[in-house]
């Protein structure tokens, strides 16, 4: 499986480690009133789609950046990759 690194071009998936759902970037505000319930959802609830999924990959044996990779979990087709720092910075 090749992951199209936005800075370095196509890289073997062996260079990466996988974390999971990219929604982990959307950490709830701990100061909010319903923080406990939202953190419970944040920690325990994940979608597990058979199809297109956005997920976090870490370029461990590379430039050590976090990527948000869009992958079809049925076919393993990689539809795109962007730097998690850019995604987070854009408030997505």
């Amino acid at each position: 499986m090749l992951i199209p690194h936005p800075l370095l071009g196509p890289r073997d998936a062996q260079e990466f480690t996988y974390l999971g759902d990219a929604r982990l970037l959307e950490r709830p505000d701990p100061a909010a009133e319903n923080a406990e319930a939202r953190f419970c959802d944040y920690v325990y609830l994940r979608d597990n789609p058979a199809g297109v999924h956005r997920e976090l990959w870490f370029h461990e044996h590379g430039d050590r950046s976090w990527l948000v990779v869009t992958r079809d979990t049925v076919t393993h087709e990689i539809l795109g990759a962007e730097l998690a720092a850019d995604v987070k910075g854009a408030g997505a």
């Binding site: 800075l7 370095l8 071009g9 196509p10 890289r11 073997d12 062996q14 260079e15 461990e60 044996h61 590379g62 430039d63 050590r64 950046s65 730097l83 720092a85």
Partner: protein, 187 residues
């Protein structure tokens, strides 16, 4: 004072150098290294007049070089200056940046061809799982080589440097020399 004997990363008194046909694999025990990282929102410095390279690239200046290691991060190289406090000089020339001594963490191996770029390209095919375009002359990248994390720096068509963990210098030397030998045997 205790009389200490300096040794290379491979444990020998002199850095070894072995030829395999047109390729020579040699340890460079004298490469000084320091990493440089930007703090949040900082401007990119030009330490020692060096224009720091973009992703996947390396540059060589006057007695000092640099290659990109990650967003806002570079490794600076000083050939022949492993015994000096190179990191202190980098820190003086890059105020406000985070500079860390790296010389003692890495073992450097140079691979030089006396028959142009083709033997180096053939060796790289055996060593790393990367598209050839990412290892053209002037490129440098971090990747995996025999389960070891390494930096591969293509200084020129006929010159390659591999930096690996110093504690695994023997394993990396084995990987490089076996691959060079097999390339030679395969003609």
């Amino acid at each position: 004072m205790t009389d200490l004997t300096p040794i290379t990363a491979l444990g020998t008194a002199e850095a070894p150098s072995v030829a395999f046909g047109p390729l020579t694999v040699a340890e460079d025990a004298r490469l000084g290294l320091a990493s440089l990282a930007l703090r949040r929102g900082a401007d990119v410095p030009e330490p020692m007049g060096l224009k720091l390279p973009g992703p996947g690239d390396c540059v060589a200046g006057a007695g000092v070089g640099a290659f990109w290691t990650g967003p806002g991060q570079w490794m600076l190289e000083a050939p022949g200056r492993a015994e000096e406090d190179f990191a202190a000089e980098v820190a003086r020339n890059a105020p406000g940046c985070s500079v860390t001594e790296q010389t003692d963490g890495w073992a450097a191996f140079d691979i030089v061809s006396d028959a142009g770029a083709a033997p180096v390209d053939a060796l790289l095919e055996r060593l790393v799982n990367l598209p050839p375009a990412s290892l053209l002359p002037g490129k440098a990248t971090r990747t995996v080589l025999e389960h070891l994390g390494v930096f591969v720096i293509r200084r020129a068509g006929d010159r390659l440097t591999v930096l690996g963990m110093r504690s695994a210098a023997g394993s990396l030397w084995h990987a490089l020399t076996v691959a060079a030998k097999r390339r030679e045997d395969a003609g």
